[in-house]
Subunit: 275 residues, 2 copies
């Protein structure tokens, strides 16, 4: 606090830069340049930049494709989006299973807009599959067109990732067979069906596949990915940029910490709110 208070007294607040109120003088351009220009080897070698075909292909940035489908969970997609979209040289695109346009979440109370249709996207550097409610995830687990698309993107991806029950969709493609993985806490038993081994952790990285635990774990994985796609300085700055210094009001965020009644109630609330 004392550093900020000193800055406050030094600076005259200006409406031109609301977000810069507590900033300490000139921008550290050298630090930014390191993150923005050095980048990982695969980006410089021509492996980055590609995305889809047609109108919006290859703008020179690392393309992150987030697959949206009817019944996905909003925070699974938005958590990683928020910490990746400002990483230098990264472009996040929402990709709709059924086409461009609004895609409903699992509660039906919110829609996110898909900018591109799945059928129009042939390539992405990073694929992210969010989880969803039972209805949406079961539909995706049975959707062979989606499986073909995921496998095609995965062949040339740098990272193939999932959040929450998104790993069950990834698992349905066969890509998790024989691998360690994680998923939503209540869905852990179903990783066996995909031939994967449940492994504890907010996210589990194996080769180029990263699976995250439930919903909010996508933020933790997103920051890890930010470091992988750029460097740790950028990831640390993005953690500050979203002020991710969490103070959960309770200690019930994992099934190991919550009691049986809390676990049951959580599942009941999810069931009741599902569309």
């Amino acid at each position: 606090m004392s550093a900020d208070e000193t800055d406050e007294t030094r600076r005259k607040p200006s409406r031109r830069g609301l977000l810069r109120g507590a900033a300490a003088g000139a921008v550290g351009a050298g630090v930014v340049a390191a993150g923005a220009t050095a980048g990982p080897a695969w980006a410089a070698s021509g492996e980055g930049a590609a995305s889809g075909e047609g109108a919006a292909a290859g703008d020179g940035r690392v393309q992150v494709a987030v697959l949206l489908y009817d019944g996905f969970t909003a925070l699974d997609a938005v958590g990683p989006y928020e910490v990746l979209c400002r990483v230098p040289g990264v472009r996040v695109t929402m990709v709709g299973r059924a086409g461009k346009g609004p895609v409903r979440t699992d509660t039906g109370e919110l829609s996110l807009v898909a900018e591109r249709a799945m059928r129009d996207v042939r390539r992405a550097d990073v694929l992210l599959i969010p989880g969803g409610g039972n209805r949406g995830v079961l539909a995706m687990m049975a959707d062979t067109e989606v499986h073909d698309w995921i496998r095609r993107i995965h062949r040339r991806s740098v990272w193939t990732t999932s959040v929450c029950t998104g790993s069950l969709i990834l698992g349905a493609t066969g890509l998790l067979r024989g691998l360690p993985a994680t998923t939503y806490w209540a869905s852990r038993p179903f990783l066996k069906d995909a031939g994967a081994t449940y492994t504890p952790g907010r996210f589990v990285e194996t080769g180029k596949i990263i699976t995250a635990a439930g919903v909010s774990a996508g933020i933790d994985m997103g920051l890890h990915l930010a470091a992988r796609l750029s460097d740790e300085k950028v990831a640390q700055a993005m953690q500050l940029a979203v002020e991710y210094d969490p103070e959960p009001p309770y200690d019930t965020g994992s099934p190991e910490k919550a009691d049986a009644a809390t676990r049951e109630l959580a599942l009941k609330l999810l069931d009741d709110a599902a569309t």
Copy 2:
């Protein structure tokens, strides 16, 4: 873990309930009923339930209105949405400043769909104002129609809340005058312009106003609100439902913990990604 492993061996995984893999038998209906039917006094007294006028008014649920405007920050809105939308008897509605339909975020890489237009909403039990980039927040701070609307909603609201720089919009209406409040870390000096006193905390509650710190702090505030709108059992269950057991990869989530270079880089990344 041991409890879950026992459950796993007891249950035969069924595709019918992916989210129930680790659940322990019958649902604790009594627990749910306590949250769903008892509720806070104001809900039972007829103060709840109201929302807007016209088509979708008063369906008997607590109405949470999230104000979306061009240039808002997605996670500011989606964090609280995700932990509130499943609270029994709560309905979250995205309300668009300019009307119904897609509203662009601060990076321009994502749009959320507003279900209702601001001009059609005359009442909400809970108002939530997300933060945004400089351009969007400055526009809202100068938008007297928005200020009139916020003050009108606030007169009958049960809770009036903001996330991140949303408090500067709230402040522009005069509603924070003389009150303790928080905001985005880099915007703390600007609370003075609203006559408010910066107060540390992931969120600051004063009377019926709650202001949250930056971006991800909306999740912490959302869980607090979940308890206020229902009870602690429900809030604890929602924390588990979104598996909010955070493990940030770095210890740079607040300006007190991050060094000067990280603070500068964070602000640079925000600037560069802004539209």
